[in-house]
Symmetry: C2
Subunit: 206 residues, 2 copies
Amino acid sequence: MIKHVPSLEKLVHELSRLPGIGPKSAERLGYYILRSSDEYAEQLRESLKRVKEVVHECPSCYSFTESDSLCHYCSDTSRQNDLICVVEDPADIARIDAAGVFRGRYHVLHGTISPLDGVSPEDLRIQELMEKVHKGLCEEGPKIREVILALDADLEGDTTVLYLAKALQDKDIKVTRIAHGVPIGGDINYIDQRTLGRALENRINV
Amino acid sequence: MIKHVPSLEKLVHELSRLPGIGPKSAERLGYYILRSSDEYAEQLRESLKRVKEVVHECPSCYSFTESDSLCHYCSDTSRQNDLICVVEDPADIARIDAAGVFRGRYHVLHGTISPLDGVSPEDLRIQELMEKVHKGLCEEGPKIREVILALDADLEGDTTVLYLAKALQDKDIKVTRIAHGVPIGGDINYIDQRTLGRALENRINV
């Protein structure tokens, strides 16, 4: 509990607005910053400034980039143009890419449809995805063969998958979603029922 | 996982240096800041700057203050000068004060003796406490009647209590520590053995 030090109270207030940082954590961070070197506070300030100045969305996949034109993934000419992997967040891209299986293009929605949180399809980059697909069909852009939906396996992810599947159904494009099932190395004894149910439903021929 | 966006990686690195913020949390905070308004980042930057500029230690109790002379507590002339409550952190002061029982002066050690973490008595404001006591004895400052040690009931707190008790033992000053025992409203059934043991040892006449 800090009292009678307005600037520290203000810093703690600003820190407590961050996600997952409660008043107690914010206070601890505030004290840490106060006790740390001036260089640390200055570096934190500088990186806050720089990230806001130079990072913006890629005009093609809407991931984050510092580049003036396309991002790292969109400017890679060795990737397939006819495959689009739709993800929720920019952070998902590097993780999917590290799997080494997908070499197509990405498209970031920046969230999933969530009526409870007031997130409707208009708040996401769904219109931009439809335009990309439409341009391919009109031969104004690369023809898209398949849209892979790599969204979380939660209620919002499922809602978004259903919405996109419906929006793309009469477009002569294959729409798929990544498989949900038992993780590699996972013990069936420790997997929850819903995952196991999904793994059984989506069984594949061997 | 963020890749190919150096400024975002740098911000995440700086955030992950904060206590209790791991790489994953830092990434989440970085994304949040990137998506939040420019005003928020600016306010956070401004409060970081201001806290480093205006907050310093009070020259008497070593708590944090923005005042050019003494802090809020030290400049209060209605408080008793012959009682000093020794605390670990500036945050402890407001909490102890809110109890409404103590109306003396405070002294912040800025930590406790912890050989394992490399914190020795010289790293704390112990020398300053001894000088304060000494000045009272030489009649150069207010005479100190009692030093109350309000330190945590952990290994480091106990070590510091023993160290201070020894340092002050031949100074003709009463040295006390706050009582540790069953919290008010606490159920004896749910109190750990060490606390209950301490509560029994330190039983008082009724």
